[in-house]
Symmetry: C2
Subunit: 173 residues, 2 copies
């Protein structure tokens, strides 16, 4: 099978807007605080997790690289909340997303996008946005802000996985 | 005036418990996800910002060091929400907090505490906890999760500053 090559685009607010928010200093609302010792890059992203009794939590994800070329065989989404990823070390990493198909049942995998994020850029996937699980190029940790459901909620309420029939695309570095 | 020396303690969950939460991998609920490529250190901290219509936001703070010895002349608190700080680079930093006095009007500045945090440790100040603004030992950026008020809310609704009459303590490094 000849896999379609997946182009790697630089991550930017404009290109990523259909999928969520880029967490970065560039273009931020800047406020000097703490007697001038701290620069606040204000409100770079919302954390949108309140529906159906959700509350925001912080976690750390420690990612390890997959074999290259990276085979894209599935995407996932969180229908009830956003999920934010911010790198804790300054290494480039990858963000793979897709729009949803017309009946909102599956990712439009012929419209996959792959973004190269800098180590000082995070992203927030908007609720319901199809995205690939964490893709790092070297072992790298992230701070995650996402949704905890109310007591008793099944974890599957906020996670949908879609597995392709085979490999949808491959990323060569 | 002879300033009381402020002892620097290592940051730990137990020592910091009266003031909030330490965001760290040690002791976490660990889950392997993403086909075994990612370790999730789950729910290290809540983000408690919902009262009076608040919503969670992510910001970046870029901190610069203050002159040494560091003069502690004020503390602040956020009555309506927690505030989480996670370092984005692996440098030690300082956390200064105090309990509140018996009528909840001011920090008990004779009970100041100073913790040395590692670069892989963040903290969440619980709502209403008196803390010093960001103290770094080298230029260092942090991801911040805190509260945005509803439209029209005055910023002072969620910020109280208490200025000491002089210098309450000094931190020598």
């Amino acid at each position: 099978m000849n896999l379609p090559p997946l182009a790697i685009e630089p991550l930017s607010k404009a290109a990523f807007a259909p999928f969520g928010t880029v967490i970065e200093r560039d273009g931020a609302d800047i406020r000097m605080i703490n007697e001038g010792t701290t620069t606040r890059f204000h409100a770079l992203s919302d954390v949108d997790v309140a529906r159906e009794g959700g509350t925001p939590i912080l976690s750390i994800f420690a990612g390890t690289p997959r074999p290259v070329p990276i085979a894209i065989t599935m995407l996932e989404r969180h229908p009830l909340g956003s999920q934010s990823f911010m790198p804790l070390s300054d290494e480039d990493w990858l963000v793979v997303v897709a729009p949803t198909n017309s009946d909102d049942s599956a990712p439009a995998f012929d419209a996959l996008r792959c973004f190269s994020a800098r180590g000082d850029q995070g992203v927030t996937y908007a609720p319901g946005v199809w995205h690939h699980p964490l893709l790092v190029l070297a072992p790298q940790d992230f701070l995650i802000a996402d949704r905890a459901g109310p007591a008793g909620e099944d974890a599957s309420a906020n996670l949908t996985e879609y597995w392709f029939d085979g490999v949808a695309a491959a990323i060569s570095l």
